[in-house]
Structures are given as structure tokens and as C-alpha cells.
């Protein structure tokens, strides 16, 4: 136990040191605090995008799903994750260009400017806050449970969630976005190493890859069928997962800050190039390890615990310590990125937008810091006593973010999209998602499709219909988004002589 606790302690100390080092490079401007002065390089950008998108799902929920429902949804996960480079090119590069051209810091500033409407800004703000806030509370909750399990109760749930929250507050307040991005990089490397090491170690426990695989084929044949042992992965559900993960990744609020913060388009090029490799090394090993794990622990009541149990029961204490660090990395990198983007939105959209239009740069930084503390403490309070509403919102969060996709595409690719249409599209698309996750609409209404599928269809139809029924947007603003300096395809054309 001392070994595990020592590794976790050293891990937290390293995070704080990185946060302190980042603070020393910081300047007191909003652009520096929220976006590291748009100076993030290729390595930090690549690993930071990766670690903020991959949450504790990777080590907890994903292996749990494979353990319980088989390997059948892995191809869906491969499609939605591997095709992310297309998103980086079509959306990420556009966001980078717009951020550079117009000086945007928050995702909502982009929507407000493009549609020339504070109403659009408000709708996007409310949706993002409602759907991101539960994530911020879920991460300390997950960390609390996992640390409690790995340390066998040596760190109680409330203390573990509290320590995680405190460390996140300190490094985010100190280092700002720069600190978070550097820490993301350190955390992403830990996540990748532990993911691969876990597979190698668990394979050795079942007699090596060859023997382990033979045993899986013989003993768990149903786990290798597309529908899985309990027949969960029907075509509609499989398709739903592909769609909502793909669109969710596209418009996660914290991803905007990553795109804005790149030093040059080349930073995005590296992210694009390395993404499938990193996603493959992150997702496949825990999934296969869970299959091997089922051979070792066949009757686990809580499938989500399979990887932590393999670490604690079958591997040395130091491995469990690094495993705990990897889970903490996964959840803290996601939560800190979300804290930072919500803090920037509060500061820029609400404080500067409505309360103090002439706020100095230094004041904006302090407002952002206070917002981080308040949001993180609020998340911790929820983690201690989760209200039923937060559980329902958390359920809707993944699908709900995906609903922003039609409006998000229209920002860059459809001149005719209007502000009223965007607002109605988002609200209309969220209705089936919220109503289904809140139990107002029975889930079987959509067959085995997730509610995000009807939500996306409604959002797209409303966007088109209402846009044609309302007055076209101001030509000068639209022209600015369709101008040659916003052309992404010049990136793949040969330079003219």
C-alpha cells in the first residue's frame, strides 16, 4: 500500500511542479491565461487534444463494456475515433483560422460573431454549461471511487475526490491553459504507457498473446460476435455510437481552446497525423485486456472494475500505483480542460459581455481564476451529494453535445444559415435528447437508436427550414468566413511557383 500511495503522491507533486513552471512563463492577459498566447507547439497540441478527449472511460467504462457485452462495438469505436483526423481538417483548421483572424478565446464568441447574435451565444453557452458541468463533477466522483478501490479504502472516497479537486484547482489557477496543456501532455504519455503495459502484463498472466487468444476463442466465443454475448450491439445502437461519438468529439467545448491555441497549422497537422495511432494504442489494449481479464475473473459483479482489479489482484503494487496515476490522468485532463473553457466562457461571455465591458486584461485573468475555483468546488460538492438531476444531465451530456454539430458545420460551410435557425436547431435537437434521458419520452420510442440520432435529424431539418424562412444573415460577416484566407483546401494544394 505504501508503494501505491507514494506513486500517487509523487504524481500529484509532479503536476503541481509543472503548473508552477507554466505560471513562470505566463503573462497577465486573457489570451495568455486562457489560450497560452496561441503558442502551443506540435507535441503539446497532439498529446493534449488526445488526453483531454479520452476520459476515464478508457480504463473503466470501455473495458467494462467489453467484459460484459463483448468486442462487438469496437469497430464502431474505431470508426468514430479513427475518422477524427477528418474533423481536425474540416473543422479544427477552420476554428484555428477564425480564432487567429477574429481573436476569439471562447467557443461561444465564434457562434456569436458568425451569426451576429447574442441570442445564439446565450443558447450555445447554456447548452455547453448544462452538459459540461456534470462531467466536471463526474471526474472527481470516478477518481474517488477508483482511488478508493485501488488503495483498498486507504484513501476514502470524499478525501480522494477532494484531493483530486484541490490539485486540479491549484495547477489550473497557477498555470492557466499553458499549465493544463503541459500537464495534459505528461498525463497523456502516462495513459498511453499504462494502456500498453496493462495489455502486455495481463497477456502474460493468461500464458501470452497466443494462448490467451486461443482461450478467448474457446471459452468466450460469444464475446467475439458482432452483437456480443447479451445481444446488445444491434445495428441501430452500433450506428448510434458511431454517430454521437464522432459528433461529440467534434464540438466538445474544450477542443475549441486546443484549436485556438495552436502556434501554426502545422501543430494541427501533427495531431491529425498521429491521432489514429494514439487512439489505437489507447483504446485497443484495455479492450483486449478486459477479454483476457474475463478469463482470470469470470464472475465480476461490477464489470467496470475489471482493469483496477487486474492491477491490484494480479500485478505488483507499483503497477497498481501507475494504474491509479493513469486513471487520474485520464479524468483530470478532461475535467481541467472543461474547467478552463467554462471559466473562459464565464469571464468573456458573461463578465466582460454584460457586467464589466471595460475589464482590464489582469482583471479578466483574476475573474477566470475565481471562476475555476468556484466551478471546481461546485463540482466537488455535487460529487459528495450527487442530486438526481445531475445524474440525468450526465446521461444526456454525450449525446447533447453532438446536437451542436449541424449549427457548428453551418458556421463555416453554409452561407444561408441564420441566427434564429441556429437557435431553433439547437433547442429543437436537444428536446428528444433531454426528454429521453429525463424519462419523459420512453427510450423504446427510438427503437434501439440513441436519442441523439432523432435529435441530430431534427436539428439539421430545423436549421435548413428556418434558415430559408428567415432573412439572410449580414453579407459582410458571412463573406469574412468564406474569404480566401479561410480556405482550408489551400493547405493541400501545391504552392504556386
Amino acid at each position: 500500500m505504501t508503494t501505491i500511495l507514494s506513486i500517487i503522491f509523487v504524481y500529484f507533486v509532479i503536476l503541481l511542479i509543472i503548473g508552477y513552471l507554466a505560471q513562470r512563463q505566463g503573462r497577465k492577459t486573457a489570451e495568455d491565461y486562457f489560450l497560452a498566447n496561441r503558442s502551443i507547439g506540435s507535441l503539446v497540441m497532439t498529446v493534449s487534444v488526445f488526453s483531454t478527449l479520452f476520459s476515464a472511460f478508457t480504463f473503466i467504462a470501455l473495458p467494462g463494456l467489453v467484459y460484459k457485452t463483448g468486442f462487438g462495438f469496437i469497430p464502431g469505436l474505431a470508426i468514430s475515433n479513427f475518422l477524427f483526423p477528418v474533423v481536425i481538417f474540416l473543422i479544427g483548421y477552420k476554428i484555428w483560422l477564425a480564432g487567429k483572424k477574429f481573436g476569439f478565446i471562447t467557443p461561444t464568441e465564434l457562434f456569436k460573431h458568425r451569426f451576429n447574435s447574442p441570442g445564439v451565444e446565450l443558447v450555445v453557452f447554456v447548452v455547453m454549461v448544462l452538459l459540461v458541468m456534470p462531467y466536471i463533477s463526474i471526474q472527481p466522483m470516478g477518481g474517488g471511487y477508483v482511488l478508493g478501490a485501488i488503495t483498498q479504502g486507504a484513501i476514502p472516497y470524499a478525501a480522494a475526490a477532494g484531493i483530486i479537486t484541490l490539485v486540479m484547482i491549484v495547477y489550473s489557477v497557477m498555470g492557466g491553459f499553458r499549465g493544463i496543456a503541459w500537464i495534459d501532455t505528461f498525463q497523456g504519455i502516462i495513459m498511453l504507457l499504462v494502456s500498453v503495459a496493462t495489455l502486455v502484463a495481463v497477456a502474460s498472466l493468461v500464458g501470452g498473446f497466443g494462448l490467451g487468444t486461443e482461450r478467448v476463442v474457446k471459452e468466450l466465443p460469444a464475446h467475439l460476435t458482432p452483437a456480443g454475448p447479451i445481444g446488445l450491439w444491434t445495428w441501430p445502437l452500433y450506428f448510434s455510437w458511431i454517430v454521437f461519438i464522432f459528433f461529440n468529439f467534434m464540438f466538445q467545448p474544450q477542443i475549441f481552446a486546443r484549436y485556438y491555441s495552436g502556434r501554426s497549422p502545422r501543430t494541427l497537422a501533427w495531431t491529425l497525423a498521429m491521432w489514429p495511432l494514439m487512439a489505437g494504442f489507447m483504446l485497443l489494449p484495455p479492450a483486449v485486456a478486459a477479454l483476457y481479464g474475463r478469463l482470470l475473473v469470470p464472475d465480476l459483479a461490477s464489470a467496470d472494475q475489471i482493469i483496477p482489479i487486474l492491477w491490484t489482484k494480479f500485478l505488483p503494487a507499483w503497477f497498481a500505483g501507475f494504474g491509479a496515476a493513469a486513471v487520474l490522468s485520464a479524468l483530470m485532463s478532461t475535467a481541467a480542460g472543461q474547467l478552463m473553457v467554462l471559466s473562459s466562457m464565464w469571464t468573456r461571455d458573461i463578465y466582460v459581455g454584460y457586467l464589466d465591458r471595460k475589464a482590464s486584461q489582469a482583471r479578466q485573468v483574476w475573474v477566470g481564476r475565481i471562476a475555476i475555483v468556484v466551478l471546481a468546488v461546485f463540482g466537488y460538492a455535487i460529487a459528495l451529494h450527487p442530486p438526481a438531476l445531475m445524474g440525468l444531465l450526465a446521461g444526456a451530456a454525450f449525446s447533447g453535445i453532438a446536437i451542436l454539430a449541424p449549427a457548428g458545420f453551418a458556421v463555416f460551410y453554409w452561407r444561408r444559415a441564420t441566427a434564429p435557425a441556429v437557435m431553433i436547431s439547437i433547442v429543437g435537437g436537444e428536446i428528444p435528447v433531454f426528454f429521453t434521458y429525463f424519462g419523459v419520452i420512453p427510450k423504446p420510442t427510438w427503437g434501439t437508436f440513441d436519442a441523439s440520432i432523432p435529435g441530430l435529424i431534427i436539428a439539421a431539418v430545423l436549421l435548413v427550414v428556418v434558415s430559408y424562412l428567415t432573412a439572410p444573415p449580414p453579407k459582410d460577416v458571412v463573406d469574412a468566413y468564406m474569404a480566401p484566407d479561410m480556405d482550408i483546401f489551400k493547405a493541400i494544394r501545391k504552392p504556386s511557383a
Binding site: 468486442f71 462487438g72 469496437i74 469497430p75 474505431a78 470508426i79 479513427f82 475518422l83 483526423p85 477528418v86 481538417f89 487468444t213 486461443e214 478467448v216 476463442v217 466465443p221 467475439l224 460476435t225 458482432p226 452500433y238 501554426s264 497549422p265 502545422r266 494541427l268 497537422a269 501533427w270 495531431t271 491529425l272 497525423a273 498521429m274 491521432w275 489514429p276 495511432l277 489505437g280 483486449v288 477479454l291 489551400k490 493547405a491 493541400i492 494544394r493 501545391k494 504552392p495
Partner: protein, 64 residues
């Protein structure tokens, strides 16, 4: 534009892996998983090539 065609092909082939489940293959005793791995590796290589070529033109233009 080849990258978008390859991405579409990856999408179709990955769906195809599920359609043709049951055919024999060397990985995990199941054909569709073998093919999924193979086409995913090929797609990862395609992304590497595309990523490293993309925005290079801009760099070259900027350095002249």
C-alpha cells in the same frame, strides 16, 4: 482529395467487417476483427502521410 476518399473507404470497410463477421481470420479467431485491425493500420498510415503533407505547402510558401 485522396484522403477523403480513403476515409470514406475506411468507413465502408469497417462497417463491412461487421457485415462479414464469421469468416475465418488469424486474430482473436474471428475474421472481422483481423480485417478491422488490418484496415485500421492502413488507415493510420494514410493519416500519417496526409498529416505530414498537409500545411507543408504553406510552410514552403512561408519560407521562400
Amino acid at each position: 482529395m485522396w484522403f477523403f476518399a480513403v476515409s470514406l473507404l475506411y468507413f465502408v470497410l469497417t462497417l463491412g467487417c461487421r457485415l462479414f463477421a464469421g469468416y475465418g481470420g488469424p486474430v482473436l479467431g474471428s475474421g472481422w476483427i483481423s480485417y478491422l485491425l488490418l484496415i485500421s493500420i492502413l488507415y493510420a498510415i494514410a493519416c500519417l502521410i496526409f498529416g505530414l503533407k498537409t500545411w507543408r505547402a504553406e510552410d514552403e510558401a512561408g519560407s521562400r
